[in-house]
């Protein structure tokens, strides 16, 4: 549908234009990864077992970065009114924005995740699984993040509030995603953890647009 394409194109252009948001998020993730060996010591015997978990933590934190941009700017400059008077219901608008957020930020981060994990000493054969889990998890981060961003609307300086609202919602995907990698590293089947991760993501995809749209209507009133 034309409206879907139009909004999707705008969101991608906003994400990439003016400051290169996705590159910033990837750089932030790599910085976090670089800090861990400095804080915990460079011993591979310490770092390697924590590599999966640490890379997922970095992924979750980096996914927070551009959430403020998602609705807050549109509310401040009046574009949200325009979006609400457009052809799509607000629920669809929230879903499209979250999907564009995943494409613009989540996927580049998913490609950065194996680099981070590898640098911390994760076995090389887990590269593919790391990227896959990060891509699936990133979709969950994008939708739960969109929900948090919508809930924080209207609170001035909502950026920090978004982090506090959203990080607890990020815990299940972090547990399942890092769990899948840990299981695979221990030569166990990672599929059950991946399935739980995917289930959480589907749950977020269903809930976030409805709840997010309600929060936006409330902030607009």
């Amino acid at each position: 549908m034309r409206a879907v394409r139009v909004l999707f194109g705008r969101e991608l252009s906003l994400a990439w234009g003016g400051g290169g948001g996705p590159l910033l998020a990837c750089g932030f993730m790599l910085c976090l990864t670089a800090i861990l060996p400095l804080a915990a010591g460079g011993d591979p015997r310490v770092l390697a077992p924590a590599a999966s978990g640490a890379s997922w933590m970095a992924l979750a934190l980096a996914s927070l970065l551009s959430l403020e941009r998602l609705f807050e700017r549109d509310l401040e400059d009046g574009a949200l009114d325009l979006l609400a008077l457009g052809p799509l219901p607000l629920e669809a608008t929230v879903a499209i924005k979250a999907l564009a957020q995943w494409l613009a930020t989540g996927l580049p981060l998913a490609l950065t995740a194996p680099v981070a994990a590898l640098a911390l000493g994760q076995p090389v054969h887990l590269i593919g699984l790391t990227a896959l889990a990060a891509a699936i998890g990133g979709l969950g981060f994008a939708f739960t993040g969109a929900l948090g961003a919508a809930l924080a609307l209207g609170a001035r300086r909502g950026g920090l509030l978004i982090a506090v609202v959203v990080l607890p919602l990020f815990i299940p995907p972090v547990v399942f995603g890092a769990g899948a990698l840990t299981r695979a590293a221990n030569a166990q089947d990672p599929l059950s953890a991946l399935a739980l991760l995917a289930a959480y993501v589907l749950f977020a995809i269903v809930i976030a647009p409805v709840a997010g749209a309600a929060a936006i209507r409330n902030a607009q009133g």
Binding site: R2, A3, V6, L7, G9, R10, S13, L14, G17, G18, R73, D74, E76, D77, G78, A79, L80, D81, L82, L83, A84, L85, G86, P87, P89, R217, Q220, G221
Partner: protein, 219 residues
């Protein structure tokens, strides 16, 4: 006025707005109570009143952003049948508020094309709007470089490029100079003549024949 009652503007046949017994409040403060107003094809209403009297809130309530305390806002179509208000707002309502909804780092062209595409504008009407408001020299500038009046011209172009029956205008002329006020007046007159409706919050009189509705001062 000579109006074709059956003409359709944009994607939906919207020919009347009925506000019945409306009460609005912001926070604890009651803005007004029991306000009734009927607007039919070809009519304009100028809302006046002191700052804070509720002009903007009334426009936002008609646009569906503010839930009234009581009363109803209904939209009528051909032969005065009631329209689904969500559909009426999605295809029949333009809101031109204080904020123009422009992203500072995008060019005027990008923003104009997005806004008109999103609101259902078509190619020919878009070109006509660009010509009417002399936007060509502005289109390649980032919107942060535009003056308030130039931004307002971009927004007026959106109203022309994506035809919709009901224009909700909040101080539409405030940032414009003499020349563009005259053009805006012609656009409004043309909109009314084609069967459109205008509900505008103003301090200066509207440049088209309009009924006045005074919301009074602060109580």
């Amino acid at each position: 006025m000579d109006i074709e009652k059956g003409s359709q503007i944009g994607g939906i046949m919207l020919t009347a707005v009925e506000i019945k017994d409306l009460s609005l409040s912001r926070g604890e403060r009651v803005l007004f109570q029991g306000l009734s107003l009927r607007l039919s094809a070809g009519e304009a209403v100028a809302l006046t009143g002191a700052n804070g009297a509720g002009k903007t809130s009334l426009l936002r309530a008609v646009a569906g952003f503010i839930r009234p305390d009581s009363g109803a806002i209904t939209f009528g179509g051909a032969d005065d049948e009631a329209l689904d208000s969500e559909a009426a707002r999605r295809d029949g309502v333009h809101l031109l508020g204080h904020l123009e909804g422009l992203k500072p780092t995008r060019t005027a062209r990008q923003e104009f094309e997005f806004q008109t595409d999103w609101l259902g504008g078509a190619g020919a009407a878009r070109e006509a709007a660009i010509a009417r408001l002399a936007l060509t020299p502005l289109l390649d500038l980032e919107t942060r470089k535009l003056s308030a009046g130039q931004k307002r011209r971009l927004s007026l172009a959106r109203l022309v490029a994506a035809p919709r029956a009901l224009w909700l205008l909040d101080e539409p002329l405030a940032p414009l100079d003499e020349r563009w006020r005259a053009v805006a007046a012609e656009l409004m007159a043309a909109h009314l003549a084609s069967g459109g409706m205008i509900l505008a919050a103003v301090h200066d009189p509207l440049p088209v024949p309009a009924r006045a509705l005074d919301l009074g001062g602060l109580s």
